[in-house]
């Protein structure tokens, strides 16, 4: 490894840390107390979940059922059928705009704030 390699690696490391810090700041700053989780299958919304209610849900993914759990204003994929189980290993998320992506099942879960741009409450179906 030469000097240019070390410099390049240092730049990559610093940029990734800065990007991580910026994104963490943005997601924390933009998350309100009232949250809704939007579950999409192949880009189409299939379920809206009120995050203030602890409950369990099941949606159909490409490889099978995806079991979703809400607890203490957090959400996670409890279990699913996929080769690596990445989205269930990911665990709980609590901030807006942080996605849980179950790629083999084509399921994406994202938390959004329950108040829309006009200041009106979003209706939970």
């Amino acid at each position: 490894m030469n000097k240019a390699d070390k410099t390049f690696i240092a730049i990559v490391a610093v940029l990734s840390v800065l990007l991580y810090g910026s994104l963490q700041y943005v997601v924390r700053a933009t998350t309100s107390n009232q949250k809704i989780a939007v579950v999409s299958y192949r880009d189409k919304e299939v379920l809206r979940i009120d995050m203030s209610r602890d409950d369990k849900y099941v949606v159909q993914g490409t490889l099978g059922e995806v079991f979703i759990e809400v607890e203490d204003n957090r959400i996670r994929v409890e279990k699913e059928t996929s080769p690596l189980h990445i989205c269930s290993i990911q665990g709980w998320i609590e901030y807006a705009n942080v996605p849980i992506t179950c790629l083999p099942n084509h399921i994406v879960i994202v938390i959004i704030n329950a108040v829309n741009e006009n200041g009106e409450d979003t209706t939970v179906k």
Binding site: N2, D5, F8, S16, P83, I86, Q90, P99, H106, V110
Partner: protein
């Protein structure tokens, strides 16, 4: 280039491609502590092709690997295929440019390749899912590309040293 050299070159490239396909297909089953992180062992073969022959050969190894491995796994034109293709396209382009214009060694190029492979994949996910939110995973993936890139680059250097001792082209 005489016929003997052409055949030798073709055979080496074929072996590199075959090995890269094997690595590409076996890698997801390697147990790693962080889910979703791959070592990128197949990139070693692309780097070897780059240093032994040139950028055209590296491109043929990298794109050939993605195409054939996707065909063999039955995921051609599926989401996984487009992720691999975009990752390979961006990382290969970056490596070609950096090799031409910077003094980076194979290790540095390998880190760059891993980094831009991840960026390419995230860009593809953003397009496929129509969601910019996937950028959230980019810093973690870039961070992980440093150790994996150093590992694969070091392995590529070790292999290239052994090949040069053996008197290959």
């Amino acid at each position: 280039m005489n016929r003997r050299k052409r055949v030798r070159r073709m055979m080496i490239l074929t072996m590199l491609l075959a090995m890269s396909i094997v690595f590409h297909m076996l890698e997801p089953s390697l147990p790693l502590p962080i889910p979703g992180v791959k070592l990128g062992l197949a990139n070693i073969l692309g780097l070897i092709a780059l240093y032994m022959f040139g950028w055209r050969e590296m491109l043929s190894i990298n794109f050939g690997r993605v195409l054939i491995a996707s065909l063999l796994r039955g995921i051609i034109f599926g989401t996984g295929f487009w992720l691999s293709l975009s990752g390979v396209a961006l990382s290969s382009l970056t490596v070609i440019i950096l090799k031409k214009f910077t003094p980076l060694s194979a290790v540095g190029l390998s880190v760059a390749s891993a980094t831009f492979h991840n960026i390419g994949q995230i860009l593809a996910i953003i397009v496929i899912w129509s969601s910019i939110m996937m950028v959230y995973w980019l810093p973690v993936m870039i961070w992980m590309s440093i150790p994996t890139g150093i590992l694969t680059g070091t392995l590529a250097v070790a292999v290239l040293k052994r090949i040069s001792k053996g008197g290959s082209p």
